[in-house]
């Protein structure tokens, strides 16, 4: 039998806020939040420091709500580039303890330390050591869920380590009965509000209920509720509840070729005319194609999505179509995207637009077209503009429509994930 693994999930406490506090020692004892720009509808709390959380400030609420709870709040604009760099520095610290490190999000990473324990002693000791080092080098507090596999490590971190004084918690499989299984289903990984309601309606109110239901019975129950395609989800939930997970900690997991390349953006105001939407559509197509060109892909299928502005009456569409030939030329993809938009847009104001390209093939050979005689020319032009952007930044050269009021390219080029770099 193979030796039991020791997997940790390390989570950074209030990551963005902690990074800002480390950068601004003067705010150390003040309530601090990182929040987006209210003018551009990204004005929500991205992260709140523990002091701010004591005032009742929570992540994802509106800035105004937080200010009414805590008028002395220090508000900092996000600096996404800095957070990414800090996250990578933390990865490097983890990598000095084990080579098996898998970033799961910007502030959570899996570590498989099975092979390092003979150097450091028991897992808790090692976790303390890593914790101290991260604290000393970056000023960030980390919490560790420790277990024999990834799902238990994640569960241990979310439900116990984050609430512990020490920030450490070891969850063993034989203690599940008294620990995890007593928690309500809503606390389970991958179970959100909707699923909680569904499980409650099925009479499954604790995680233990799911784990103790025989898999076949759970499958039958879910099939009755969600139709015949729910076997896999049933098995997934059952495994999560039972703490069964053989997935390896995979450092190279991000190295795979993508199957789709897409960009999406929430608009600063609702766009109501076709002309307005077409401008952002072109800008998004340009970004998507630029990324495809840099990777040497051509996409065959374009998909366009729009979300209506009215939350109470959801509208919008997400449709795709196959182009005649694979391509990564902006104008060709744009033409197809506009066709989709014209065909499916219902005329209601739009708050979110997205474009993606999929079914890739390599761009070292392409189908000659009888009708498109400018292809070589467009390729040469785009190669040049891409090179300029690469060297001087995305805002260095852009299409004329981007300086019209509906253009967003200029603003977007200064952002990562919708927030300032």
């Amino acid at each position: 039998m193979p030796r039991q693994r020791v997997v940790m999930l390390a989570d950074c406490q209030s990551f963005y806020a902690s990074v800002e506090k480390a950068e601004h020692p003067e705010y150390k004892d003040l309530p601090l939040v990182v929040a987006g720009d209210p003018e551009r509808r990204s004005g929500i709390i991205l992260a709140a420091c523990p002091i701010a959380k004591k005032f009742g400030v929570t992540t994802a609420e509106r800035l105004g709500d937080s200010l009414s709870k805590c008028p002395d709040l220090v508000i900092v604009k996000p600096r996404m580039k800095l957070y990414i760099d800090t996250s990578m520095r933390i990865t490097q610290i983890y990598e000095s303890f084990t080579d098996l490190v898998e970033p799961y999000s910007i502030d959570e990473q899996f570590l498989d330390v099975t092979g390092s324990l003979h150097l450091y002693g028991p897992p808790e000791k090692l976790a303390e050591l890593i914790q101290a080092r991260i604290q000393a080098e970056t000023g960030i507090n980390t919490r560790f869920g420790i277990a024999e596999n990834k799902i238990l490590a994640k569960t241990a971190c979310d439900n116990y380590a984050k609430k512990n004084e020490s920030g450490l918690y070891t969850l063993t499989k034989d203690s599940l009965e008294e620990t995890l299984w007593t928690l309500p289903v809503g606390k389970m990984f991958m179970v959100g509000n909707r699923m909680t309601a569904h499980f409650n309606a099925m009479g499954l109110t604790t995680i233990g209920h799911i784990a103790r239901t025989p898999l076949d019975k759970l499958k039958a129950m879910m099939r009755r509720k969600f139709g015949k395609n729910s076997d896999i989800n049933a098995e997934l939930y059952w495994r999560i509840a039972s703490g069964i997970d053989d997935s390896p900690v995979t450092p190279g997991t991000h190295q795979v070729a993508p199957t789709t390349v897409g960009h999406m953006m929430t608009l600063p105001r609702d766009y109501g005319t076709l002309a307005d939407i077409k401008v952002v559509l072109l800008e998004l197509v340009e970004l998507v194609c630029q990324r495809c060109r840099s990777k040497g892909y051509m996409g065959h299928v374009v998909s366009v999505g729009c979300m209506g502005a009215d939350y109470d009456r959801p509208s919008g569409f997400n449709r795709q179509m196959k182009m005649e030939d694979p391509t990564n030329i902006t104008n060709q993809v744009y033409r197809a995207a506009v066709t989709l938009l014209q065909r499916h847009w219902d005329g209601l104001p739009v708050r979110k637009v997205g474009v993606s390209l999929s079914q890739f093939s390599s761009d070292d050979g392409y189908q000659l077209s009888l009708f498109d005689l400018h292809r070589e020319k467009s390729i040469a032009l785009e190669r040049t503009t891409d090179a300029i952007k690469q060297k001087y930044g995305d805002a260095s050269i852009m299409r004329a429509v981007s300086i019209t009021p509906s253009g967003q390219a200029q603003d977007r080029s200064a952002k990562i994930g919708g927030h300032y770099k």
């Binding site: 990414i84 898998e102 799961y104 997935s247 390896p248 997991t253 190295q255």
Partner: protein, 108 residues
């Protein structure tokens, strides 16, 4: 769908990664693979030049370890020509730069 239950599927389907973060990780891994040039000392250079000369004059096959930024590169063959003016030599009809040599083993 089935993928969620296999390999690393559960985590790959649920993670939240910024594309910029992902790109930075990939770039970083590439950079780690990049190797630095080995500097040869005089004795090593002497061994290299002797072997190259021997191979050229006696038609003996040699194995040269060459510098490559990303890969492990060795060339095996008989030296056909040496162009000392331009600092290059030819093995099997292909030119290589002398300055990229990192080591030599002769097969007797």
């Amino acid at each position: 769908m089935r993928k969620k239950l296999e390999g690393n599927g559960l985590w790959e389907s649920s993670r939240m990664m910024l594309p910029e973060h992902k790109a930075a990780i990939i770039d970083n891994n590439e950079a780690l693979k990049r190797r630095a040039r080995t500097v040869l000392d005089e004795q090593e250079w002497e061994a290299v030049s002797r072997s190259v000369a021997e191979s050229l004059q006696l038609r003996l096959p040699i194995t040269l370890r060459m510098f490559h930024p990303l890969e492990e590169l060795t060339i095996i063959g008989i030296v056909d020509r040496v162009d000392s003016m331009r600092g290059r030599f030819m093995i099997d009809g292909e030119w290589f730069e002398v300055k990229n040599i990192e080591g030599v083993t002769t097969s007797d």
